[in-house]
Amino acid sequence: MHVAIIGNGIAGVTAARTVRKRDPKARITLISGESEHHWSRPALMYIYMGHMRYQDTKPYQDHFWGKNRIDLVRGWVTQIDADGKTLTLDGQRTVQWDKLLIATGSKPNKFGWPGQDLNRVSGMYSLQDMDALEGWTRDIKHGVVVGGGLIGIELAEMLHSRGRHVTMLVREASYWDNALPAEESAMVNDVIKATGIDLRLGAELESIEDDGTGSVGAVQIKDGERLDAQYVGLTAGVRPNIAVTEGSSIETARGILVNDQLQTNHPDIYAAGDCAEIRTPEGQRNTIQAVWYTGRFQGEQAANNMLGDAGDYNAGLWFNSAKFVDLEYQVYGNVPASGAQHTSGLDYVFWKHDNGKHSVRICHKDGAVVGFNLMGVRFRHKVCEQWILEAKPLEYVLKNLRKAAFDPEFSKRHDAAIRAVAKGATP
């Protein structure tokens, strides 16, 4: 059997490894146009900032692929023939396959802003994006980052680390408040400002202006200022990269449509990771999950199903993490964002340290714990998951906070302060 995989991101690579583990005989071809080897996309910022070199971000040493007989092919897939079971590489070579996995990831959103295609305007997704930025860095005095999400803050930190002046335009009233509760979102605002990044809240991009040479020279804010800028980063979210399905009979909507088994309308073609859109959403989840660990789960699941398992995709309890400059963030389970905070029917215990660098939010409903949102505090994944799945009573959790602690040894414990807040809030 020949399994072809388009995309060597976390989803594609996990699928390749899973197939190899289960089927020593299968032929596996892993195709990507971006890079020879799998690298960690979330580490992009660290290459640019000089914390690591590109080769340090490769999760597997180069000999891994040969040893596991995973054939690496560098090239762009330009066409898929679903019925003939072939694909075309760079418009030239055809490759035959028995099972195909599409794991082509995302691409940055562009909302038709005037000037969005000028020189020195880019998204921040691929190694090529980073390389372009690397080249431009010499000429940039002031960069403008559009978008208040996870990638936007990373791009702002990147530019700032190189001594460039950075303005962040965030359309919302507070940083990433469509995901974070209001208090945590405000903490991040403070961190951004303390770093020396010029944060503009409630500021929407109107247009990007040409400096006369085809490159960006300035940025106009809607009903506001005009800022000189030699670089504009567009980081207003991502959407599935489904270009590869054009001209094929594979069904798509926003992403590549798959069923619970991650199978497309063609039984031998699967999709996983950022590019997949699951037709029957479970619970309240989005149909598209564009984070690292869901890519890993989906890659594994798709591979298992290709080998005949027909298991339903179940991502388990939601979790995620990020780092906002110096402020670490972890979330487990159900934590409503700012807007839904008071309509969600949940109650909260929220404790925040006076220095604004640590906070713990425990969400609960009818006495049972349903979620944790942590800033500058590390909790144990396994423990939080178990507590939420077993619907542990709030009192139990408050009493046993120590069991969830994951901060480095000798770190100050905040258990007593959290319990004190809880007592005050629920007399």
């Binding site: 070199r53 090529q128 680390s161 972890q330 000798f410 770190s411």
Partner: protein, 470 residues
């Protein structure tokens, strides 16, 4: 789709970060360092000139004093200019920390210093004269090149330790650990041995023992030859020499296994040991240069265990030789110790171990040569409660942990599979946990039973082979 750029072929060096502009205070500090260094250089050319033209204490104050004060001031100011947190910006752009011209120059300079120290110490007369007042005040003895070395070593640990305290001022683990290595170097590595000299006792380091100091299990090192032939170690009338011998033996036999069981080898390697202390302080800017490939791991295991074997055999032979009245080795035993002292003590631990910090990373000696680390490592791997716990599925495979592990452990390889890290070589410095941007790693002393959760158990491969599994 755009044409593909061949990133794998890109040169590792990229555009550097903007040079930071210095404050007036920082300029003054750097001027002090340059002034002191210049005077040291001139003193090397013309020994005793400085003390002739100034007073007794002015010579050390104007040289060592200005260098230390200037460095401390600069470090303090530079770090206060950043918010607390991991700031590895530009590490791989900097010539000093990425094997550029400055890195190589620093490597050559440090290596040359060791070569001169061991084989050409007369060149250092001018510098030795500069620390004479300090030596005399402490031990009542004249300074020699070893006093100069001990002094500079301690200064390096204290100054660069202060840099660690600033760099990690957000982390209590790093603060306490760094204070610990500074304390042990200053007290047990410098002051106590010199005070012992003042009391006309053997110069003794309470924080070193067999096999790192093989001679500490050889009674004649303390002038206690008769202990061997009488066959009794505890003899009535405990002399200082015997006490030291006993202390060393107890540390080797009781403290090492016990403390390692409870805390892992870190209790020694990154909290107490002087070599570790220097690596954790002076070596910190170079930790990312440690090779973390599988090949390096293989070489490491072969080398370190060979050194341990060699020392065990040599110690054994020397004892038998002494007990049998020099029957097997004759009077050549001194030669054996000397040869070992040269290859391992001088050439390896000094010249390569420290001199090559800027080229091979900060723990070359600890990884490839230290017999003490080999023993501690075996206990840690097979009989300890210490492990690094991986936090569920939070790892994003970024590679910061593997890059900044000074022992060249590919931490990510375990973390991304959700496995705990139980490795013989881990010195428990905790830096992987600090640099992880997703809070995935926690060093802890848990219960012995669950440390291998998800991870390969030791001997599992051998056991499987017996059971016929491949």
């Amino acid at each position: 789709m755009s044409a593909s750029v061949h990133l794998d072929a890109l040169p590792p060096q990229r555009v550097g970060t903007e040079p930071r502009s210095l404050t007036v205070f920082e300029k003054v500090c750097l001027a002090l360092v340059s002034f002191g260094s210049l005077l040291v250089f001139l003193s090397l050319l013309s020994p005793n000139t400085l003390s002739t033209y100034t007073s007794y204490w002015a010579a050390p104050a104007l040289t060592m004093g200005t260098i230390v004060l200037g460095s401390l001031g600069y470090i303090f100011s530079a770090y206060m200019g950043t918010t607390p947190g991991i700031k590895h910006n530009g590490m791989f752009f900097s010539s000093m920390s990425n094997r550029g011209v400055w890195g190589w120059m620093a490597g050559v300079a440090m290596t040359s210093f060791y070569v001169i120290l061991y084989w050409h110490s007369s060149t250092l007369a001018g510098a030795i004269a500069l620390v004479e007042p300090i030596s005399y005040a402490l031990s009542g003895k004249h300074a020699d090149q070893w006093f100069l070395y001990g002094f500079l070593y301690t200064v390096a640990v204290v100054v660069m330790g202060s840099r660690m305290l600033m760099k990690y001022r957000h982390s209590r683990y790093q603060i306490i650990r760094t204070l610990s290595v500074m304390f042990f170097q200053l007290g047990f590595g410098f002051l106590i041995p010199n005070i012992l000299k003042a009391l006309n006792q053997p110069e003794f380091y309470f924080t070193y023992f067999w096999p790192l100091k093989p001679e500490y299990l050889l009674p004649w090192s303390y002038g206690e030859e008769q202990l061997v032939t009488q066959g009794a170690v505890i003899v009535t009338g405990l002399t200082m020499g015997r006490a030291m011998l006993l202390w060393g033996a107890m540390m080797s036999v009781i403290a090492v296994p016990t403390l390692t069981y409870f805390f892992g080898k870190r209790w020694y390697c990154s909290w107490v040991c002087g070599c570790g202390g220097l690596a954790e302080t002076l070596g910190d800017p170079y930790r990312q240069l440690s090779d973390n490939s599988d090949t390096a791991w293989k070489v490491e295991r072969w080398m370190i265990h060979s050194v341990l074997l060699a020392i065990t055999v040599i110690t054994g032979l020397l004892w038998i030789n002494a007990a049998t009245g020099n029957a097997i080795l004759g009077n050549a035993s001194g030669l054996y110790s000397k040869t070992y002292g040269f290859f391992i003590g001088a050439a390896f631990s000094g010249v390569i171990g420290v001199g090559f910090y800027p080229i091979l990373g900060s723990r070359v000696w600890c990884r490839f040569g230290c017999p003490q680390a080999a023993i501690l490592g075996m206990f840690q791997r097979f009989f300890s409660r210490f492990r690094i716990t991986t936090n569920g599925g939070q790892c994003i495979s970024c590679g910061n942990c593997s890059t900044y592990c000074e022992m060249g452990i590919d931490v990510r390889a375990y973390a991304q599979r959700g496995e705990n890290i139980v490795r013989a070589s881990c010195v428990g410095c905790g830096v992987c946990s600090e640099v992880c941007p997703r809070g995935v790693l926690k060093l802890e002393n848990g219960s012995f039973g669950d440390r291998f959760k998800n991870a390969a158990k030791p001997f599992a491969a051998i056991a499987d082979a017996f059971r016929g599994k491949s």
